[in-house]
């Protein structure tokens, strides 16, 4: 770890189908809010890092230049970080590295996506290996369904149980989203609604899947000296972890997803966390698919391998459970991809500073946030705490 780093403010757009606003204005909406939140001005910022999933999503390359004005980046060092679905957490990591290195005191981090402007399926197809694999994946639902199927079959989890647990997660997150003013999908659903919704890619049904969202998120990171000088309530970065795997889908085991396991371990080691379920107060897991969310619980050591469905059905990861996961409604209800990982970070920061409003977990002091990306290849984790 370098020198201590804090998050001193966040700004989010209302996420959803935002056809009424241009992409630069959408980005600016989040940036204006983070300046309102911190009472800072663009002149205070030492550098800007931003990112999208692939630029192709909106058909404009190098979006950090496109949004230089909206992010007030002219005259400052500017970076772009792009790691597919994990872009948002990688932006947070980049801001962290920048300040931890001693090269800056205040960094503006911005994640953004306007998925409804382009063809998200066509964009995601280009992520997949072109000679051997592109023809069979059928997008994120196809690949993550295969992963979930591999996981469930390995532990012999009865199909009814895993189906019920995934439906439980869907109902809980859809309910949670009503308490998050920025969430996209606000829908009351029942377990039966989920289980009877249209089959997309077995075992995933329509209500097990995230939406296509437009949205942006801005976060300001600060050095300890600057955070103290400004007197802001801060969320402190206690650990960061990131891991990748081989490119070919099929070269590495996805049932126990090693990049997720190792990314969490790196972050836990830095934060001194030995028993995550006990020590963490809340987690914002990147959960575009209900089934996959359970696999993450296991990879992050929230429970043993194959145990997640039982614990989900006991309410261990619910809002009032032992380790609440995604009280914001998570990626399942809001997914502007390039922003999504940074939204996880922003939500975790709000939780440990007691500012999460109607979805606040009372007394939260230590939080995990996470995002994953690539066809099935990368995981990033960050641990935030209330104390330096």
């Amino acid at each position: 770890m370098g020198r201590p780093v804090a998050i001193i403010g966040v700004g989010q757009t209302k996420h959803g189908r935002r056809t009424e606003i241009s992409y630069p204005d959408l980005v600016r909406e989040a940036v204006v809010r983070v300046f309102e939140d911190t009472r800072l001005t663009p002149a205070d910022i030492d550098g800007v890092v931003s990112g999208t999933m692939p630029s192709m999503m909106e058909g404009i390359a190098l979006t950090h230049f496109y949004f230089a004005d909206a992010m007030q980046a002219a005259g400052k060092p500017i970076l772009k970080t792009e790691t597919c679905g994990s872009t948002g957490i990688s932006i947070a990591h980049t801001a962290y590295y920048w300040i931890a290195s001693g090269m800056a005191d205040l960094i503006l981090a911005v994640g953004h996506e306007k998925m409804n402007e382009g063809n998200s399926q066509a964009t995601m197809t280009t992520v997949v290996e072109p000679f051997y694999q592109r023809y069979f994946i059928a997008g994120a639902p196809g690949v993550f369904s295969m992963q979930s199927q591999m996981w469930a079959a390995r532990y012999g989890i009865p199909e009814e149980k895993i189906r019920d647990a995934a439906a439980y997660i869907s109902v809980a997150h859809h309910d949670d989203a009503f308490d998050n003013p920025y969430a996209h999908v606000k829908l009351r659903v029942t377990m039966d609604d989920v289980k009877n919704s249209r089959l997309i890619t077995y075992p995933v049904r329509l209500l097990d899947v995230c939406p296509n969202s437009d949205g942006a998120c801005a976060v300001i990171f600060a050095s300890a000296e600057m955070a103290r000088k400004l007197g802001r309530k801060a969320a402190w970065v206690k650990g960061v972890g990131y891991r990748g795997e081989e490119y070919f889908f099929g070269d590495s085991d996805k049932g126990v997803w090693q990049s997720a396991v190792q990314a969490a371990k790196q972050a836990y080691d830095q934060a001194g966390i030995r028993d995550p379920r006990k020590e963490l107060d809340v987690a914002e897991v990147y959960n575009p698919f209900t089934f996959q969310e359970m696999l993450f619980y296991e990879c992050f050591g929230f429970c043993g391998l194959g145990e997640a469905p039982d614990l989900v059905l006991k309410g261990v990861f619910a809002r009032n459970g032992e380790l609440p996961c995604d009280p914001s409604g998570g990626t399942l209800c809001t997914n502007p991809i390039g922003a999504t990982g940074l939204i996880r970070t922003a939500e975790a920061a709000l939780q440990v500073t007691g500012r999460a409003g109607d979805h606040q977990i009372p007394g939260a002091k230590l939080a995990l946030c996470h995002a994953m990306g690539g066809v099935d290849q990368f995981n990033g984790v960050m641990i935030l705490g209330a104390e330096p």
Partner: protein
């Protein structure tokens, strides 16, 4: 009612010409002859399929070619029930990871040769660990779709 704002329709068409290089050219020449080739890493001993020019774990050239089995074991699958951009197969279809006998990585392709229209039936038939074998097209072009699908043995 909220005012509707204008949108701009725009389109970018970008044709690409991707180089196979010597190793993948040889692999696909093999497919045209109904053969599947892997390469063996001298360092870790793994047989990689499709063939690679280097081992992604050991970072050494893989120069030993091996013709691999055309049958193997199903390790994961997904029943795709929706139309997705660029997929050459009409839904429903099954994307499948297959561990070809004697190899050390999973090979991604399709599972077929069964009635796919009734998912409840599919679920009774398709199981991880089941044995499958490649079914080839009569007309082949040196393309991954020269294999029609893998069918249960």
């Amino acid at each position: 009612m909220a005012k509707e704002y204008k949108t701009l329709m725009t389109e970018i068409r970008l044709p690409y010409e991707l180089s196979y290089g010597p190793v993948w050219t040889r692999f696909f020449e093999g497919m045209a002859e109904k053969k599947l080739y892997g390469t063996k890493c001298e360092k870790c001993g793994r047989i990689l399929v499709p063939a690679r020019s280097f081992c992604p774990r050991c970072f050494v050239d893989t120069t030993e070619w091996v013709e691999v089995a055309q049958q193997g074991t199903l390790t994961a699958w997904s029943y795709v029930n929706y139309r997705y951009f660029g997929m050459p197969t009409e839904p429903p279809f099954i994307g499948a990871l297959i561990r070809l006998d004697g190899t050390d990585v999973d090979f991604l392709h399709l599972m077929g040769g069964i009635d796919l229209n009734d998912f409840e039936q599919v679920r009774k038939v398709v199981k991880n660990g089941m044995k499958v074998r490649a079914v080839w097209k009569e007309e082949r072009q040196g393309h991954i779709l020269d294999i029609r699908y893998f069918e249960p043995i």
